[in-house]
Amino acid sequence: MTLLEPARRVEGQTPAEQRPKLSIQSVSKRFRTARNQEVHALDRVSLDVNEGEFVCLVGPSGCGKSTLLNLIAGLDRPDAGAILADSNPVEGPGPDRMVMFQESALFPWLDVMDNVLFGLKCKRNLPKSARRDVAMHFLRLVGLEKFVHSSVHELSGGMKQRVALARALAPNPRVLLMDEPFAALDAMTREQLYGDLQAIWTARRKTIVFVTHNVREAVCLGDRVVLFSPHPGRIREQYRVDLPRPRDINDVALAEQATAITRALRAHAEAKEVA
């Protein structure tokens, strides 16, 4: 694990020949809560994500990591700053940036197959006959080929998230955005899905931005861990994780790195309290 220096970060990630897949440039976002309190969710946050990189955004709740994900997805607009995907400004949601939510957000009126087909049907350039094959391919990839005709309510929480993963991957997005997708699952299922996700990522090298509040999860999955601090939401530190894959969440080396990051996280929180 290496702590990335701010200076090195800027130079190292925007070489002229390799443009970043995602470029977040000095983005700010405020919104009002129900009680009319203003929350400064993001304060001039800048971040570049390279093609094929697995980046985890970590921080306590309220640090703006989910807000940033929604901005990248185009579901919300930033108050200031710009977000570029493949050098094009993000104007709204698009199938090049698929999102996986904490709840599966699967449609209960469709069966498993039709849920995966939904995103494919929104892609105009895909012929009808090919859709089913593509959907089947991804359902097989997540190990659910036997549940093609099941209803959503018949699936367990882990299976639902697998379907959601297949649904997000099927239209072949350039970037996969994951918003605490495993937070609501039990530990066993979660560990299985860490394995599956790593296998899929290793095979396909999809660019992934993964939001979590679980530092160990971030170290287990990410190439880079980006640490956020709240009020206002800012990037504090970035760490490169060089552990070999596939990684096991219970691995000792992994746990040590996670502890170091957690310590840094706590130090920031305490420094804030003193100030």
Binding site: P108, F118, G119
Partner: protein, 254 residues
């Protein structure tokens, strides 16, 4: 099987009790006819075609009024859920008119349209429209926002989202609203037929009304039973398939 036996036994006992009380002479035979007399009325009026003709007239009116209520009520409810200005205007109107028993439209309808099918249609339509609209509005409002967010990230938007996400997502509410609308339409039509004497066709409500005028209580009771029967049959054919589907997909019990 056990439940079927229990149910049958219950209704046989009920009939026996009715017959027994009639034979014991508890009430005047003019007011409470025996079940056998009701059965005889069924037989003769089925044979001479009165019942079928009246049922046909009634069902036709019901379907017309109800369908018009659905055709207008579903988009109206969606519009109220979508636009605040629609909710503050038409939505409030719907809420108010929903509380008005639809037979209250009868005096107005008679003067506006005269003693004809239009008056009946209007009353039935007014009876079902508002409850359908309100149910659809509630249904769309209750669609979890995460569905639309997910759909938007997959490239769905505008009309596509309404047709393929909002409408199916609110299906449980829409179906229960349609069912409620159906019940209201059925009640409205019966009130209208009893209240509005028209010359363009004899419906079940009219038969009920004339039964009273002629002191033919077996006719009144027979028509009441038929009205119950039709209500149940429609529930089975029109709504049960939808409820089955929702039970299978959503895992809802209902």
């Amino acid at each position: 099987m056990r439940r079927a036996i229990t149910a049958t036994l219950f209704f046989v006992l009920l009939l026996a009790l009715w017959e027994g009380l009639v034979r014991a002479g508890v009430w005047s035979k003019v007011l409470v006819p025996s079940p056998l007399k009701v059965l005889t009325y069924f037989q003769t009026s089925l044979a001479d075609g009165t019942l079928l003709a009246a049922s046909w007239v009634t069902l036709k009116r019901l379907l017309l009024g109800y369908l018009a209520g659905v055709v207008l009520g579903v988009p109206l409810g969606m519009a109220c859920a979508r636009w605040k200005s629609c909710q503050d205007t038409v939505g409030v109107l719907a809420l108010g008119l929903q509380t008005l028993p639809s037979v209250c439209w009868a005096p107005l309808a008679l003067l506006w349209f005269g003693q004809n099918e239009w008056a009946i249609f209007f009353i039935t339509f007014m009876g079902s429209l508002w409850s359908i609209s309100l149910a659809v509005e509630a249904g769309v409002r209750n669609v979890p926002p995460i569905y639309t967010r997910a759909a938007r990230t997959m490239g769905s938007g505008g009309l596509h989202t309404w047709v393929f996400v909002m409408l199916p997502a609110s299906l449980p509410f829409v179906v229960s609203g349609m069912k409620q609308g159906w019940a209201f339409a059925w009640r409205s039509l019966m009130s209208a037929e009893i209240y509005v004497t028209i010359l363009t066709g004899l419906g079940l409500g009219h038969l009920l009304h004339y039964g009273r005028e002629l002191h033919a209580m077996e006719q009144v009771i027979a028509i009441m039973l038929l009205i119950i029967g039709i209500g149940l049959a429609v529930d089975r054919t029109l709504f049960l398939p939808w409820e089955r589907f929702m039970h299978k997909r959503w895992g809802l019990t209902g």
